[in-house]
Structure formats: C-alpha cells, structure tokens
Subunit: 440 residues, 2 copies
C-alpha cells in the first residue's frame, strides 16, 4: 500500500462469469494494479441469491451474503459493482447504493441505456461516480476514448460492431454460405450465443450500446426508446454473396450520426466497403469507428465480451474511482461526457427521415423492359443508381435476381419507390432492402 | 463559462503546423469543448523566434513574443504547450516552465524518449502535470488507453505502426512494386516525407514512440538509448513480394515485449500475417496493437500525424489538466502509468538475446544438395523451418532465390547460422534476414 492508505473496499452484486473474472484478474494482477493505482482494491463482500454458486467463484476470498442490502447498507463499502444485469432489481439496487453515497461500477448496458438519465441524475445529487466502461464493447476502453480522449472533437458519427454473437454469426454465414438458422445453432453449441438469443440477434443489445455512445458523443440524453432496431434474423446468405461480389461486407452495425436535422440512432445489417478496416473485424470481436472533425477516423478493436475482458473494464473503472474519489464533482469527467447543464435535447430522427444508400435485391422476370421500368420508378423518386448486378437466368428459369446499389436518399423516398416497384407485374415477391454506409 | 471560472490560460511555444491546428480546433470547437470541460481554454500568448510566421498562424488571437521566457515567467499562464520539437531548446524551456510551477503539454516524442525520466522527476518535485498524448501516434488516444484504460492488465507486448511516412512508403512499394528510393521521392513530393527523412526512414522516430510505450506498459524508465533500431532503407520490393506469396506483409513495427529475461525494445521491418487486422493498416495511418493478459488483444487506429489530429491530442491533454489540476499529486495518473516508487529497472535485452521467427532470402546455385546443406546448418543451430519457397531458376540462370521462414529462435543462433550459411560456396552473396512476428 502507498501512503498506508486503506484498500478500496468493494462490494460485488451478482456472482457470475464476469464477477469471477474480476476476482481472478484482481488476484493475479494485484501487484501490477497497485503499482499503477497506488492503492489496493479489495472485494470484501459478495451478494448473490445463489450463495452456492457465489461460493464457487469467491472461494473464501470475501464474505458472501444473499441480501444485497447488507452490502449497500455497510458503511465500510466504498464502491458497489453491479453485475446482475437487466432493468429490474439491478436498477433498484444501483439507486439504493447511490442513495447511501456509494460509487457504482456497472457492466449493465440495458440498465444504462434504459434508465441511465435517471441514474446519473441521482448520482449527481449524491456526488458519487457511476462508471460503466464495461457496458459498451467489453474490454475496449471506448467510453474513455469518447469521454476523455476525443474531447477536442466535434464527433460526427460512430459506427460499431458491438455485438459479438451477431458478428460471429455473420462471419460464419459468409465463410460457409450457411443459413442464419444453421449458424445460430452452431453458435449456441459453441457458447457464442445464449439459449435465448433474442437480445443479440434482434439487435437490442447493440442498440443499448449505440444509445449510450450516442449520448456521450453528442451531449444528448440516452435515448434508447428512440432507436430504430433491426436484427439479422431475416438476412439471407445470397445477400452476403452479392454484397461480396460488389466489394462489400454485411455487418450488424450500431450507427449514430449528427446531422443538421437531428440525430440518427439505428441498428441494422449494413453493407460496408470490404476495404474499410472495420470490415475485416471477424468472429466474436468488436470494433468501434469514430469520426471526429479534428482527429478524423479512429478505430478501437478488441473483445466485446467474456469474463476477463469485461473484468478488465470493470477494474479500470475502480482505478479511476481511486483517482477521482477526492476530486470536486464539477471537475470530474461528466457521466455522459458533457456537463449536465450543457446536455441538449436534440431530437432522434424517425427512420423515414434518415439519409443513406441502399442495396436492393429483386426477383424479376427475365424479359426486356423490366430494368427500364424499375430505374424509372427510382428516378421518379429522385434516387440515383450507383451499381447494378443482374444475374443471367438459370436455364429453364424465367426469373432472375437483380441487385441495385443506390446513391444516398431519404428512407421515406426509398420506401415509396419500393412499394411502387413491388406493384410491377414483372417483379416477383417483395424487394430485399439493406442499408449501405460508405464510412468515409 | 461554468461557475464563472477563469479560462485556463495557455502559452504556446512554437507556432508551426500543429500550433496552427490547436488554434483552429480550439476556435471551431470552443463551445463543444467547453460543454465537456466546464471551463474555457484560452491561448493568450505565443512565442516563436519567427514572429512573422507566428502572426500568420495566430491572426491576432493571442499576444506574440519572440522570447519564450516572457511566457514561462508570466504568472498568469497556467499551462505551457511545447511544440518546438527536438532535444535542445525544447528541453531547456520545458524544464524552466516546470520550475515556475506550470503544467506542460508536449507533442515532442524525441524529448520524452530521450529526457523523459529527467523531466518527469522535475515535474514530480514541482507537483505539475507533464502530458504527452500527442507524442505517440498523434490523434490516437493510445497513451490514455495504456495509462488508464488497461490498468487491470499485465501488458505482455505492444506492436505499433507508429510512423506514417514509412508505412506510406511500404504500402506504395507493395502496391506498385517500386523501389524504396523511387517511393521516397514520391512521398517527399506529396509531403508525406520530409526533405531530410532520416528520423523516419531509419526508424528513429518509431523508436522514440516505442520507448515511451514500453515504459508506460511495463513500469520501467524510458530507455530509448537501449532500443535496437533498423529502418526500411535496405528493404527490397522482392522481399515484399515473397512475403505476400507466403501470406505475410512487411511493416515497420515498433515492438516492445516483456519476457522472463527482460524487456525487448526494437524497431525494424517485420513480416506479419496478412490476416491480422494491423496488417491492413495502409498509407500514412497508424495503429497500435496491445496484448493484455485480461483483455486479450486490443487495437487502436487513426492518424499518427497532421495538424488537427495532433491538435486533438494536445487539447485533450489540456482538458485533462482542467480536471486533474486540483487533485493531490499522488492521486493523479502517474506520468509513466506506474507510481514513481514502483518503477522497476528491468533490463532491455541486447538484440542477440531476443527470440523471434525469421524470413531468410538466399541466392543459391541451382544444383542438388544445396538445400540439404542449408537445412543442416539451421538444424545444427537448433533452428527449425516453418515454410520454404524455392523459385525455379530462370532459363539460362544458374542461380535461384530460396526463401525460408523459420520457427522461433534466439537471434544469436540465427546470426551464427547465417554466417555459416554464407560460407557455403553454393550460396551467393549475403543472406537477407527479416524478423517475423505472428502477433497471436
């Protein structure tokens, strides 16, 4: 110990995979962490309703209780780590810990995305820190980069591969040409996807993280309820292949942009140029690309989940608390990067108002004049074509695939154009539409 | 202004490209920065011996003086930004600013790499901050990531593409098959290389940055004088091509590793697998890959130089100073990430002691038995072969290229083996040796 300072006393709520990682890393790297922080960190209490499971993880290194309030009401505890997850009991306990004047570290993206504004307001009132580096992109210090590293910049946009499960699935679909359902099963076997994968594959987890980054980047409240969210469940291998032929990859991106009309906040499968660095992020890895007006493009890459990678972020937050503990509140890094009285209520635009490029796939009759009709509809809706891919019809087939990449347009014009195109008798079934971002 | 706080008063030493960027970004993003920092930043004085040049950059926004001591001795100035560069006058002025109790922000990698230990000792004595985010990898917040974001980790190694000029040259040599000399001329025309490019092409600039990262990663002093440095001037396009055929790219890497025998600190052209993300970093861009024991691999990518990208890092340091100004010294982030009394004097190993893999290219007579003799010499030196590439001799040629990738060995064994191989009458000329890192 430096200066004979008492170790930081930490109480852990929720003894699961990440909690185990926090114990393991704190123990293995105790000296290394203390060499940096100048103070020891000690997890002295752990709360879990399943005390047997907790014992397996804690292995005698801390007192185990089944009632979280024994930690929250213990005046010896300086910091509470919340690793329960979800919006329910986690919210109640975090607010209770704040009320007793404890700092909070959480890895809970759902909680921050849905109740962040309320939690930060309560924390400000009590003068405590609520740190959440682990909530976005796991071990990648992206919250620190955005809140502190890029303070000179007007952030223009952020795109992120911020859900490892879906990136693993998309990488496998591309490598093997398999269907979404096949790869999902494989991912579940390998432990890359949960038994109920809804939050991941429907894009909700990515939207939680994108909402948090949006607030920190632009100085607006956390607005998860305004996010437009599409998952990858309807994505077909054929679209991944056509995208490839056109020089693109399909990734599930969390996207947030600042425009003159408001903020874009959306999660959906997206074509991106294969030559961009972020397009090469494969498997369960995460990456976040940030466009700042001064720094230009920066990118941050690493493990977005996992026991020790998440623990790395949780412990970094504990070290920051050691450093900022005694700082006057108004000199600390603001929760959402911007001073609370400077947060703006900039509107999140409805999806119809956003502007982007598109990939369209249509089944058309293999006859002359079809293309002219489709391009006329696009032109009538002021949509111009960037690239076209028309497959020759297979022998004996009367239909063929037509793939169109468009230049930028407002989504509402694209929706109108598609509905007009689908009325054409030479167009069979519905049009597949995937948004495209050049990221330049 | 928040709380009616007086703007942070900054004095700028050296009005050049980066200084201009600092002015431009501070002015353009004044509101955005203040929304984050809670306090205005004002550059009130600028010192440059060329006051005419300074006037062009300052444009009436600050007082210009030709004597830096007018800034250093001005009690109204809180922070001095040193953008002069080099080891000479910059060192004297930085130490003088520290002596008068001013915080210092510098982008000067040479200064920190060569005199960092002395400067930090002086700063500690005076209780002032010396910040240097801009000194490594320009706009990428890599110092922040290493000092604060990864505090939970035992860092195992760092490799970085940390010199944009040489990465631009290598990218062009690969794309166009041109020679080093040709591409250097092109780079000079385009402004990617300076008129005297020695510091860049000989690897010295990269070694400055690698030395700083090594200290921060491992808790050792800055040891630039112990770094092994090789540039790219002798690299031939043929080696880039053979590497490509074997699935590798050649990059000038700054490398620092922690081993059980000491620290490796070296800069040299390096083969890395083409499939690694960092291998796709092209042109003048920078990237740093960090291996931590908890977080695994993380990577940080962005512009390593340029007016506004560097200004982004300088201004982020100013905002940090606003935040840490009133913090007791022993709670601030330590200069080199580790508490000063916990810095270890771990030895930097001589290059002969390091362990790595190798790419070898030999000109051999096109006759039987040659390969057997070479592989015997390697085996005698306990070096095993990973891959072999033998070009068929061109018609009428009696010599052919032999390329060997080896498994890991100590450099001194490799040097011995090469000197034995070069004695073989069937081997013509000297053996080209390039180190190879798998980065996994």
């Amino acid at each position: 110990m430096v200066n004979g300072m008492k170790p930081l006393q930490v109480g852990l709520l929720g003894a699961g995979t990440v909690g185990g990682g926090v114990f393991t890393v704190l123990q293995r790297n105790q000296l290394e962490i203390e060499r940096r922080a100048g103070r020891q960190i000690q997890i002295s209490m752990v709360a879990d309703i399943n005390t047997e499971r907790a014992q397996e993880i804690v292995q005698g290194r801390a007192q185990i209780v089944n009632d979280a309030y024994q930690i929250i009401n213990n005046p010896e505890i300086d910091v509470v780590i919340e690793l329960i997850g979800g919006y329910g009991i986690a919210k109640e306990l975090v607010l209770a810990a704040i009320a007793t004047g404890k700092h909070v570290v959480t890895a809970n993206k759902a909680l921050i995305a849905v109740h962040g504004n309320e939690i930060f307001a309560a924390a400000k009132k009590q003068g405590v820190i609520v740190a959440f580096e682990a909530a976005v992109a796991g071990g990648i210090p992206i919250i620190k980069a955005l809140r502190e590293g890029l303070t000179a910049n007007r952030i223009e946009w952020i795109v992120g591969i911020i859900n490892g499960t879906t990136n693993f699935i998309l990488s496998e679909m591309r490598d093997k040409g398999s269907s979404f359902d096949e790869v999902l099963k494989e991912a579940q076997c390998l432990g890359y996807a949960e038994a109920d994968p809804t939050f991941d594959i429907e894009g909700i987890d990515a939207a939680h993280k994108a909402s948090i980054m949006s607030a920190i980047a632009f100085g607006v409240p956390v607005q998860f309820d305004k996010a437009h969210i599409e998952g990858i469940t309807k994505l077909e291998p054929i679209d991944i292949q056509y995208a490839e032929q056109l020089g693109y990859r399909i990734k599930l991106l969390g996207i947030t942009k600042r425009t003159s009309h408001g903020i874009e906040l959306r999660v959906h499968p997206t074509l991106i140029p294969a030559k961009r660095l972020i397009a090469s992020v494969e498997g369960a890895m995460n990456a976040v690309q940030v466009q700042g007006d001064a720094v230009g493009t920066t990118l941050y890459y690493g493990k977005g989940a996992g026991s020790e990678a998440t623990a790395s972020a949780v412990i970094a937050d504990l070290v920051d608390i050691i450093r900022y503990d005694s700082v006057e509140q108004n000199k600390r890094v603001p929760y959402l990067a911007f001073q609370e009285d400077k947060v703006m209520n900039t509107v999140v635009m409805p999806i119809g108002e956003i502007t982007t490029s598109y990939y369209l796939r249509l089944k058309v009759s293999d006859e002359t004049g079809v293309l002219a009709k489709i391009t006329k509809i696009l032109a009538d809706n002021i949509i111009s074509i960037d690239a076209l891919l028309q497959k020759e019809a297979d022998a004996g087939e009367s239909q063929t695939d037509l793939v169109i990449l468009t230049h930028q347009t407002q989504e509402k014009f694209m929706i109108q154009a598609i509905s007009d195109i689908e009325l054409l008798p030479t167009v069979k079934g519905s049009v597949t539409k995937i948004r495209l971002e050049e990221l330049s």
